[in-house]
Amino acid sequence: AQRVTQPEKLLSVFKGAPVELKCNYSYSGSPELFWYVQYSRQRLQLLLRHISRESIKGFTADLNKGETSFHLKKPFAQEEDSAMYYCALTRTGGFKTIFGAGTRLFVKA
């Protein structure tokens, strides 16, 4: 069965420090991976997707099929990055999107 695992419920870092939010998945086919973010009092929204291979707000994520991981990274965390981050998985062909349990990132001044 397909599954998305985010092992850290809470991650606390100082401003300017690097940050890595971990995501591992299990899926036998060719998955599409996403990161969604929910800032305080805002809707859940897409941050980035692996097929775009782009950097959004300084965040990047590389799909590692060998390790079945899609970790989210940023070299220098900012206070405004404090939010709830969810890793998500789907596949082509009209498949549902499933999410991990989420990681709350807290960036301290």
């Binding site: 809707r43 859940l44 929204q45 997707r49 549902k96 999410f99 991990g100 349990a101």
Partner: protein, 114 residues
């Protein structure tokens, strides 16, 4: 607004009562999802509608939960005989359709069962 709209935003009910939660997706979006968001559980998939296909109901936690989507647009999630463990935020999302990836979320309906 052109976003996903959910109502009510807050619902407090007594154990054993039935509740209905409504979702208006973005116009033209053929895919619609319901998720449940609770502390420590993340985003739990409930049900997925895609066009005229049979919905994927594999995430519904019990037969007290049901959902329908009328005319390929508005959806209603119904919880019968509510229990305290049903308390959560229920999120609706829509997307353009098959293989379009990005989900657009509503603000959610917070359900509290006393």
């Amino acid at each position: 607004g052109a976003g996903v709209s959910q109502s009510p935003s807050n619902k407090v009910t007594e154990k054993g009562k039935d509740v209905e939660l409504r979702c208006d997706p973005i116009s033209g979006h053929t895919a619609l999802y319901w998720y449940r968001q609770s502390l420590g559980q993340g985003l739990e998939f409930l049900i997925y509608f895609q066009g005229n296909s049979a919905p994927d109901k594999s995430g519904l936690p019990s037969d007290r939960f049901s959902a329908e989507r009328t005319g390929g647009s508005v959806s209603t999630l119904t919880i019968q005989r509510t229990q305290q463990e049903d308390s959560a935020v229920y999120l609706c999302a829509s997307s353009l359709g098959v293989d379009t990836g990005e989900l657009f979320f509503g603000e959610g309906s917070r359900l509290t069962v006393l």
